[in-house]
Amino acid sequence: MNDLGEFALMVALATALYGCIGYVLAARGNRLDLYLSADKTPVIVWGCVVVASIALWKAFMVDDFSLEYVWAYSNRDLDVFYKVSSFWGGQKGSLLFWTLLLTSYMVVVYFQNRKRNAKLVPYALVVMLTITLFFLVLLNFSTNPFERIPLPPEDGRGLNPLLQNYWMVIHPPTLYLGYVGFTVPFAFALAALITKNLDDSWIRLTRKWTLISWFFLCMGNLFGAHWAYLELGWGGYWAWDPVENAAFMPLIIATAYLHSVMIQEKKDMMKVWNMSLILLTFVMTIFGTFITRSGLIQSVHTFDEATLGYYFLAFLGVIIVICVSLIASRLPLLRSKNELDSFLSRESSFLFNNLVLLGIAFATFWGTIFPIVSEAVRGIKITVGPPFYNQVNVPIGLVLLALIGIGPVIAWRRATWAHLRKNFFKPVLIALVFGVGLWIWALPSNRAEVYSFIAFVLCVFVMSTIIIEFLKGTLARSHLHEETPLQALGSLVWRSKSRYGGYIVHVGVVFIFAGIAGSQAYGTHIEQHVKVGESLQIRDYTLKYERLGFIQENPTKTRAVAQLGVYQNGRRVWTGQPEKEFYKGQNQPVSEVDVRSTWKEDLYIILADFKEDDSATLKIYLNPMVSWIWMGAWIIAFGTTVSVWPDRLEARRRLERMKVQDAVFSPAQE
């Protein structure tokens, strides 16, 4: 099976190369035979990559330690669950997984557009095949997951204990689905540039792809935060680590794109800007991969064998050169009739939203590369950690939060002062009343609390604007169509999925902001060494250390479990069981925290250390409102689902627009 996997990768490489050349030659020479031949390559490449992936998965399942990769990331005692996820636990497998997702997306694009969009699709497929080719070159010549060990050992080295968590099965695939997903809009954008079909057909074709990729990237980031919170045992969820930043930047740029593209869809403006944003989003996904795999920047996330920096740097360079040259050469065609009625309009608020989002992305990028810049200039690799990002990004983030409230309520084209007063009076009043109340109830005493105070007030402002929008729409429908309020709300959302789905996503974002504000400013923690029977106090919780037990789970893993009775106002409310896990062959034990999560706060317990007399060092965190962040994630998921849900009305509108613009239907169909 290993030989088959290795062979499949070679065939995939050759086929991808043939496909790229075939498509290009067919287009240049107008050769139908070549086109028909090349047209089968996306499916063949995908098939080969699937075969290679199955081969590698099988090697993990049957403990085939003749493969160096399986030996390095698995062992006989590893749960089947983690054997499945070990596939992407290391560099080689993760690249194969990336290729598997990329080719799967490519095949979906292929079948989705077989009989339509013939002007763009072959070129988009060439772009996707070329990117696939790059990964296949790496897999065949630099990081072959089927590399053998001459004398296979009896057992493997095992998966890093930190990766033995169920989030390992969820987080990387979600993040990769987002990363790789942006290849599709990127490929169509390049195809539009190459073919000079620069109307907004490429945007319409990729709208759902972009939304879905954005959704996965967003979820990937949030799942990663949740994993870090539960697994790394430091009481936090985001450390502004370079690799976290690498996943965060494309998300922010894609968010800017999702907003600015609305202006192109509605007003046919900002074509250069939108094109640049989607290209930049993809460039940042490759930059992120470069960071993870170059070893250039120190991070807990980077792969052990981070040796692919030069490959990715070269690839990044080629992509940037191609994108910049294509945009520059098509600039006259991308010029749109940019006209605006008023400075006070939704268009301008979206522009400021883009500015702020890009400001956050740039600040994050600058912080990530500053160690390299500093080393180049001064010879000292300065560390840029959370204090930098918190001081720089938090104020910018607050401006963004305000814009989330302002943007959707301002009218398109022109907003009058009377209109602004009408739309903003109630939300501002509600936010001010809340602000005064909060100020009296909890006077901010340090910078973090001041920022949190502003964040809470803005959250209330944004929520008010959204709720009022829903209310207005519901009441209007209810009045016009004599529907019950619930029916009216349902049909309001159903008939404008894109708009109201977007509002729901904004609600999720508000929840996340509120969660961050609460947990960053009002959290507290204690660390104490206690004997069995002794108690600890943190705010109104009393934790009684009851016992320490040991469990030999399997020959390679032993768990030390502390038990604590948690009392609130004299009543036992929970039993906490934080653990320390010891793995054979690993120097550092792994902490498994235990968390009591409520909407108000998380009681987060870490077993930091223990002694032979069963006394233990415990770290207890009280993190307010962390659950709001995870709730926000689910709300975003719901909002995105509403937004991407097939819309008959929208499809009809689009069809009408397409008929008018005579844009993308294939000549074959015509």
């Binding site: 790394l232 430091w234 500093s374 690799k381 300065i382 560390t383 840029v384 959370p386 660390e527």
Partner: protein
């Protein structure tokens, strides 16, 4: 409007300025936030985020130093003297390091200026183009036909944003 905006900015700055130095949080937490973990594995984590044995030992040492009467600033200086500038979790705000702090805000200000100019140009473009349209505007006194009213209702139903 501009004056109102400026007043708000000044108030916000004053407000932040007054509130900022009031921090009386744990000095150990301040130290943990200011310094990186210096474990052999080069974990690359800020001390407050690190859970390794070295970080536990460092925390205990810092607590002793704080108990002996040293201030956070003195301990940070001591650590920089021992391990170099890389022990700090964020760049200092002097010399070349200042560029780390200033550049993002400078970029946003320049971008904001650019956006302002773009918007002005677009508005000028619109104003310049307005008289040329010369389409016949509907007479506001003209009664709306039932057919037109029905179509308007349909359009409103379909209206997305």
């Amino acid at each position: 409007m501009r004056r109102l905006f400026s007043t708000w900015i000044v108030l916000a700055v004053l407000f932040l300025g007054v509130a900022a130095p009031a921090g009386a949080a744990s000095m150990l937490a301040d130290l943990e936030n200011a310094l990186m973990c210096k474990c052999k594995d080069k974990c690359g984590k800020v001390l407050i985020n690190c859970t390794c044995d070295t970080s536990n030992k460092t925390r205990a040492d810092f607590q002793k130093l704080l108990d002996s009467g040293l201030t956070v600033q003195q301990i940070v200086q001591q650590q920089v003297a021992l391990h170099g500038e890389t022990i700090l979790s964020a760049p200092t705000k002097i010399g070349f390091n200042l560029t780390a702090w200033v550049t993002p805000f400078a970029a946003i200000l320049v971008g904001g200026y650019g956006v302002r100019r773009i918007l002005n140009a677009w508005i000028r473009g619109k104003k310049a183009g307005t008289p040329a349209s010369g389409e016949k505007s509907p007479d506001p006194q003209e009664p709306i036909s039932s057919n037109y009213s029905r179509r308007l209702q349909e359009e409103l139903d379909k209206l997305e944003i």
